[in-house]
Each structure stands twice: as C-alpha cells, then as structure tokens.
Symmetry: C2
Subunit: 496 residues, 2 copies
C-alpha cells in the first residue's frame, strides 16, 4: 500500500516540527560523540511507519517462543559439559578465532572446573528477519542475537511517535488533518518486557538463595565506556523502576573492578556494591559482545568475576556463545535442528522455513560447496560472508568475498560462514530523518522480534515470552544498518 | 532545614548522571541559539528541591483566586469603555511609553469603536513572590503577569525529577540509597491546568456561537520567531491533545498573516486556518508581550487581526494592559484596591499584605516621595526602578537609579515605578546545574503561583482556578532571573 505523499510545505511546516519536538521530548535521542552530558540529538528515524505484510509479521512472532527455547537448549550443557554440542562448536571456533570466541571459551572452561553456583539463566534475545521479495509472507532470518540486543526502548517510542503523528492528522495529504492509518500501527513495549523478565529472574534468584537478606536486590547494567546509546537503555531502567520498583546500576568493566565485591566470609559469591551495600541479582550485559569491548586483560578478568558470581547473568557465557554465526549455520542442517527440536515435524519445518542456505568454509561436503560458491566471481554475487562477530561492519558482500578470502590462509576460512543473500523489496515512499536532513529515498527494512526466557542448567524452562518487536530501516544502497553509527534508522510497522 | 550534603563522588557518579538523563529524556530542554531542530540541551535546574516555609507557600496559594478575580475585574470595562479605570491608566501610560503601551492602547481604542464579537475572555496568570526574610510566613509580590507566563510545563517536570531522584535514594548522603524527603516535595501540573482552562474556553466559545460548525476547533499558540523555549510550551500542547483531544497550531505573526483568514460571507470574524479548514477558538499568546516581538507595523496588524476576531483571546489587550507595573503600583493604594475588592476587609488586608511599597514618579504626593527616594544616593539603595516592560533585563537597581534617571527628562519618569526591594534569605546548600557545570552557591528563590480564569465583558466570572506553581532560583549575586537567558534556573518546592 502506498504511503501518504505530503506536499513539501506540509512536511516542512507541520509534520517535521512535531516529529522533532515529540522525539526529543520523549527521549528518542542519543549522545553525540564526545558530547557533554546535558545535550542530546535525535536518533535517526523514518517519517512514516513502513508497510509490512501481516502474514510475514505474524509468522515472525509465531516462531519466537520456539526460537527462545531452541537457543536455551543449545546453551544448556547439563552434565555433558565439554562434550556438549555448544562446547564442541565453541572449542573448534576458539581455534580459528582465538582473539574473541577463544577468550570467551577459555573463561567458560574455567567455569566448568568450578561448582556452578547459580543454576538459573536469563536470555534476552532478538531474532532478525528480512522479508523475501519473491514471497511476501515469507520471513528469512538474518541472525539470532543472544547478547546486548538494543532498541527495546526506542521501538516502543517510535511506534508511539508515528501513531501520535497519525492521530494528529499530520499524515493527511489532503491537509484536512484526518487519520490515514488506523489500528494497523501496532505498538509494543519490549523494554517493559525486558524489565519484567528481570523481575522474574530476581524472584528465581531469591527463591534459590540459601538465606534471605535485607540487602536491596538490583540489576547491574554492564555498559560500554563512552556509551552513546544511553537513552534506549534508560527505557529499561525506567521500566524496572516505574513498573516494578527495582533499582538498577550502570557499571563499566572498570567500575566492576572498583565498585563490586563478593560478600565476605561466604562461598556463595553474592555480588555486592561496596558503596551502597546493594546486592546484584541480575547482571545484564550491554557490553562484552565484541572484541573492542575488552581493552585489556583486566576487562576479561572483570567479565570472569561477574560470571563466577551468584548473580543471574543475561546472558551467561554459554548463551552468548550460542549466538555465533557458526551455530546459525549448523542449525540449517536438519539433523542438527532435530537434535534440539525433536520429533515435532511441523515446528521443525516452521523454523527451517525461516532459514536461507548457509555454508561453512571447512573440509566437510557443505564446506567444499561453500568454498566453491565463495571463490567463484559470478556465484559469489548472491552471498554474504560473515565472521564470528557482532555489532555490525564486519560482513563482506558479493564480489568482495573472493578478494577478501584470497588475503587469508585457507585454514583461517573456517572462522567465517557464507550466507545466501535475502532479497528484500525496497519501500519507496518513506523518508529517513537524520540529523536535520531528510532523505526521501528507497529503504530496506529488517524486522526484529524480541524474546525473553528463563531457563536452568538442567533443561528446565520457567518463563518464555515475546515482548515485542523492532523495525529498522536503511537506504537500499547501504549494506550496513547500524543506527547509532548512522547507517540505519528506527522505523515502525504498518500492517497490511 | 538543611539539604542533604552528598560526597562529591556520589554527586558525580550517581546523582548527576541520572539528573541529566532523566531531564533530557523527559523533555526538560530548550533549543540552543541557532540550533538545528534535532538537538536540544537541558534547561538549567537545581539538583535538589529548595526548602520553602509551608505557611508562606499556603499564603501564596490562598490569594490566587482573589488575585485572578481582581485582575479580571480590572480588565473588564463594561459599558464604561474609555472612562474605565484601566482605560484611564493606559491612556496616560500611552503618552509616557508611546512605543509599546501606546501601541497596545491604540489597538484597544480601535476595538472600542467596533461592536465586540466575543464577550468571553481567558486569563492565564502567574503571581510571583519572594519570601520576606524578616518573617518567613510572609510573601511579597514581585509582579503579577497577565500574558505569556512560562514554565507551566517544566514546573511539573522538575518536581517529578526531584521526586524521582529522591525515591531512587540518590539524595541519601549515607550512600544507603534511602529517601530523605518524603511527601514534602509536592508536584503540580499547571500545564494540564492551562489546557483545561482552554478546553473550558472552547466550550464557552461553542456555546456562545450563533451557529454550530463541523469545523474542528483548535487553539492557536502565537509564538515568537526563533523561539527556543518550545519544549515548555509543548507540555501544554501535549496536555491539550492527550488529556482533552484538542489540537493546537503554532503561528508566528508572519504565519498569522499568511495562513489565517476570517470565514468569508460572515460578519462574525471566525478565524480559520486556510490550509486545514480548522477554526481557531482560542488565541493563546506566547509572544506579543514585549516591544521586540513586533518587528514591523505588519506585526501590529497581525495582532489586531487576531484581536478583532471571534476567537477567545488569552489574554485580550485589556487583560494584557492590566498587567503593567503601573497598575501594580496603583493597587498598593488602598482606595484603588477597595474599588475592585469592595467591602471584604479581610480579603483586602490579605492581598494588601503581599504588597511592598511602590511609588510612582509623577506629580502626586506619592510621586514626589518616590522622586525623593529615587534620587537620594543613600535611600535609593533599598529600591528597584521598573519600566512598563516584561521579559526581564529591564530593571534598574539601587545606586544605579539616580544615575539612570538623570539621563532622562523628568517628564519621562512617569513611565517608571519605584519598588521597595524585598529581602529574601538565600538557601545555602543547593546546587545549580547549568550546561555541564555545577554551581554550589547561595541561591534566592521566587515562587510563582499560576491562575486561570474565564470571565466575560459584563463582569461575570465562570471559571476560576489555581492549577499549580513554579519555583525559580538564581544566584544570590545576580539581579535577574531569566531561565532561558541563562540567569536563573528551575527549582522545586520542599515544604517545611
Ligand atoms: N543474508 C543476508 N541477506 C541480506 N542482507 C544481509 C544478510 N545478512 C546480513 N545482511 C545485512 O547486513 C547487516 C548486518 O548483518 P548481521 O546482523 O548478521 O551482522 P552483525 O555484525 O551481527 O550486526 P548486528 O549484531 O549489529 O546486527 C544486516 O542488518 C543486514 O542488513
Ligand atoms: N521588589 C523587588 N525586590 C527584590 N527583587 C526584585 C524586586 N522586583 C524584581 N526583582 C527581581 O528582578 C526580577 C525581574 O523583575 P520583574 O519580574 O518585575 O521583571 P519583568 O521584566 O516583568 O520580568 P519577567 O516578566 O520576565 O519576570 C525578579 O524576578 C526578581 O528577581
Ligand atoms: Mg544484525
Ligand atoms: Mg548480531
Ligand atoms: Mg518576573
Ligand atoms: Mg513580568
């Protein structure tokens, strides 16, 4: 369905001023680089919601709880420890990617050698999809994120913004200020869902404690140094406090070292904030997902200090490791998927339907196929090459792939996966608002579905929810979609 | 009562980061000069609420409805027109201040020559007080504002901010994160009160219309060019829309000329937005109160075009004229006050109690006294000299008064009033947060009480409310308190 086409004067005189003011006054903002703490700038966003086929949207929601459960299972080693699926995959990846996956795996192996104190885990996930342009009801998974998924706060606010602009009549091209979209701009509040899952986690934390304490139980947000995306995170802090009366504290790895300690004379390793005496029940990572987040061995020590504690981790190391691109590739093998999904053919087919072809670049049969596709100057045009990395800016596209691979030793190729490109139909009439400029250019949209799950180390699942979604868009001409980096922007869903 | 004294590290690590983030994400912001529309900066504010004696606070609230009524009466000429009190005062002021009061008066006289179309008026007032340090229950009126009173939106939010910081335990000097203030930080929502009075005004507008229309009735905010304080105003727009489903439109005087018209073939002069067909029921001025707001004759024409219309004005010209410093001075004369208050001795005493001595500088007995005080190098030290101006930066203090007067012809002195200085006890332990700096310096606080009133041109009063208050503070060492200009800052009330 076409978007409203506003005359330029209506856009400039009515829509944009309200869009800027509403966004800024409702916290849709980031800090600029090297900003002072008293100034903020609007996060890039679209002027309108983007049309998304209802069937595709519903299909994505429909598979979220099973995906949560799948990744919880993958992250659970039970008594198998080093012989479990995730351990075997991680230990292999550790060799081809020693600087990052290898580091995570080293910490995990140290944990295997200790008695596990906390058996509950919190997963806060986001499964990302593109809609296949050859079949508008078909969603294809880009990746499954198991650590530090962002924009739960902004997703809610952008949908509210678009809905507000619509209700004010500012989308009406006739100038009569009537609504043009109706109930088809759904609003979700994943930040509330995140907070709710943390509250639940705190309940499990308390219930499984050997003694009760009158220390205040709080959530620790482990954050990047110089974080600019603080206002998105603040939505979760606000939901924790306003909806559930739970306080939170923000700590960089440096702060972890300086401000926390384990309770003394106690082998439970409860995490305590030295200054306030608060007890950290949930460690929620908004850092630690990329190599650059660890600037020295001290940061790895800080991570280990947190992992060893009695706090519930969101996520723990195994859950983080389950989010590698390698695992995603392995799951496209039906034999691997059945291992975790079991006999439910229908469900397996449903999940499988969201997968595109992903190849390893190793010595297996699939791997040889992958190498052939990746090095062929023609065939490579339909693929993207991905390392075991998060955070954007790491992928190699199309004809750059053979060139890139030729700079590596073939034994290093194993650290990458080769993924079929998903072809997505651009939307033509939306407008990206970034800084004080507007860009009426074709965009591509990526739908993210959030998931929250509480599970234990014996395979039990205690809470499994889908608290909402996110739409991000980027210029059709851009490969990357990072919002804070300025490549992409926030959008909302208009169902048709 | 002393304010909490936080260790510097708690202030920097806990209180200030939350203060900045909460303020920015809740719209406590202004545009910087020449800002692009996508960036905003925190409005200056205090880190803590400021202690205010409960008795003084209650006394100020107590006189607000009578003050609303008093100023409504002063603004009502009935059948007297040019022989009324306000007309006689204004016509005299017009001579000594032809460039501004004179202009307003010229427009009003033109209106007197026309049949009046709209008999209802909306007053949105703020009465400002300082607390006399010799008697902590005694409030003294600084001025009574009848046009464009600001910070109704921010007042609510700063109280919420301080309350939020307190509930989070961030004021606790012990570091144990306990609340230190309890219910003594009251929160009011004057922006909602303003919106409610506008909604009421629209009801009177509809009720008094000769025909019903299916045009949408809206409020027009008449705003300054390059307004920076848009986020405060937006709170009122948001309240109108969210609480009452009423849309508003923002127009500069240029926009008034270009975008509005009277309904054609109709001698009711209903105001219509050409593009949307919306009908303006209430004209709400956030400009037009100072000489600089009118950059050419065209702006005066725009003002007149609005005044002539069927819309309810907030305020109309007479109500604006009733807010001059001259009227304030005249009301300190008990004979004048009785004229409007009548026999109610108790009420008259109550209002009178809030007045300090104010002298004219004319040829009356009081005027001769005023001239003596104003020109004496010693006596002048206890006075401030004020012109018939609004918006700050116009006053002359203490020993500057004789110097200043000597640069004028004595026949020009009449445009000024001489006001006794109110001596206010500084608060010592608060901190002003401005830009990214903090100033732990003594401050003086000014309490503003908002009032809304609907009255007609025959003396009827239909709605009279006090929707809240405002506390602004400034450095003890500064004469002026303009917040957006950077002299003063927003504060909240802690009652003791
Ligand atoms: N198979 C694909 N087909 C089309 N586009 C893709 C595909 N895979 C990735 N992309 C594009 O590249 C972007 C980055 O890829 P991906 O999300 O896998 O990387 P990442 O490093 O994990 O980034 P992040 O975690 O920050 O999202 C995606 O948002 C999408 O726009
Ligand atoms: N009598 C007084 N005693 C002490 N201080 C005063 C007195 N009158 C004014 N002031 C100080 O000067 C400031 C400005 O005075 P006033 O409010 O009368 O001027 P204004 O031009 O109407 O400004 P605005 O309408 O922007 O508040 C006050 O906020 C107060 O700080
Ligand atoms: Mg991604
Ligand atoms: Mg990712
Ligand atoms: Mg004032
Ligand atoms: Mg004033």
């Amino acid at each position: 369905p076409p978007l409203p086409k506003l005359p330029r004067s209506t856009l400039n005189d009515s829509l944009l001023p309200e869009l800027y003011k509403w966004s800024l006054s409702h916290g849709l903002m980031v800090y600029k680089e090297n900003s002072t703490p008293n100034e903020a700038t609007m996060v890039p966003l679209t002027a309108y919601p983007t049309p998304i086929p209802r069937k595709a949207f519903e299909a994505a929601i429909d598979v979220q709880l099973p995906f949560n459960q799948l990744y919880a299972k993958i992250s659970t080693v039970g008594t198998d420890q080093e012989s479990s699926f995730i351990s075997k995959v991680s230990s292999k990846l550790a060799k081809s990617d020693p600087t990052f996956t290898g580091k995570l795996w080293t910490l995990q192996r140290k944990l295997f050698n200790q008695p596990s104190l906390q058996s509950f885990n919190l997963g806060i996930f986001r499964s990302d999809y593109l809609i296949d342009k050859t079949n508008f009801s078909s969603i294809k998974q880009v990746e499954f994120n198991t650590i530090s998924v962002s924009f739960a706060g902004f997703s809610n606010k952008v949908a509210q913004l678009h809905s507000h602009l619509n209700r004010l009549g500012l989308y009406d091209p006739s100038g009569k200020n009537k609504q043009v979209y109706f109930d088809e701009v759904p609003v979700s509040n994943p930040a509330n869902g995140f907070a709710k899952s943390m509250k639940k986690a705190i309940e499990f934390y308390s219930a499984s404690s050997t003694y009760t304490t009158d220390r205040e139980l709080v959530v620790a947000f482990i954050i990047q140094r110089n974080e600019r995306n603080v206002f998105d995170q603040k939505c979760i802090e606000d939901e924790l406090w306003e909806s559930y009366g739970i306080k939170s504290i923000r700590l960089t790895f440096d702060d972890v070292v300086n401000e926390l300690e384990y309770v003394k004379n106690d082998d439970e390793r409860r995490l305590i904030v030295k200054r306030t005496g608060q007890e950290i029940a949930v460690v929620y990572y908004r850092t630690g997902y990329t190599f650059d987040d660890y600037i020295s061995e001290k940061d790895w020590d800080a991570r280990f200090f947190l992992e060893q504690s009695f706090a519930i981790k969101a996520p723990n190391l195994l859950t983080q490791l389950s989010g590698t691109k390698k695992i995603q590739q392995l799951l496209t093998d039906d034999k691997v998927l059945s291992q975790f999904i079991g006999d439910d053919e229908e469900l397996r087919a449903k999940l499988n339907d969201t997968f595109v072809k992903i190849y390893p670049l190793d010595n297996t049969e699939m791997g040889e196929m992958g190498k052939k596709l990746a090095t062929d100057p023609k065939l490579c045009e339909n693929y993207v090459l991905k390392p075991q990395r998060e955070g954007g800016g790491n992928n190699i596209y199309k004809k750059d792939i053979p060139k890139f691979l030729s700079t590596l030793n073939e034994n290093e190729w194993d650290a990458y996966i080769l993924m079929e490109l998903i072809h997505n139909e651009p939307s033509l009439d939306n407008i990206i608002c970034r800084n004080d400029e507007i860009f009426p250019l074709p965009i591509l949209s990526e739908l993210g579905i959030y998931g929250t799950i509480i599970f234990d180390d014996k395979g039990g699942i205690y809470y499994n929810h889908c608290p909402g979604w996110l739409l991000r868009s980027k210029f059709e001409t851009s490969d990357e979609g990072g919002v804070v980096a300025g490549f992409g922007c926030l959008d909302s869903v208009f169902l048709y």
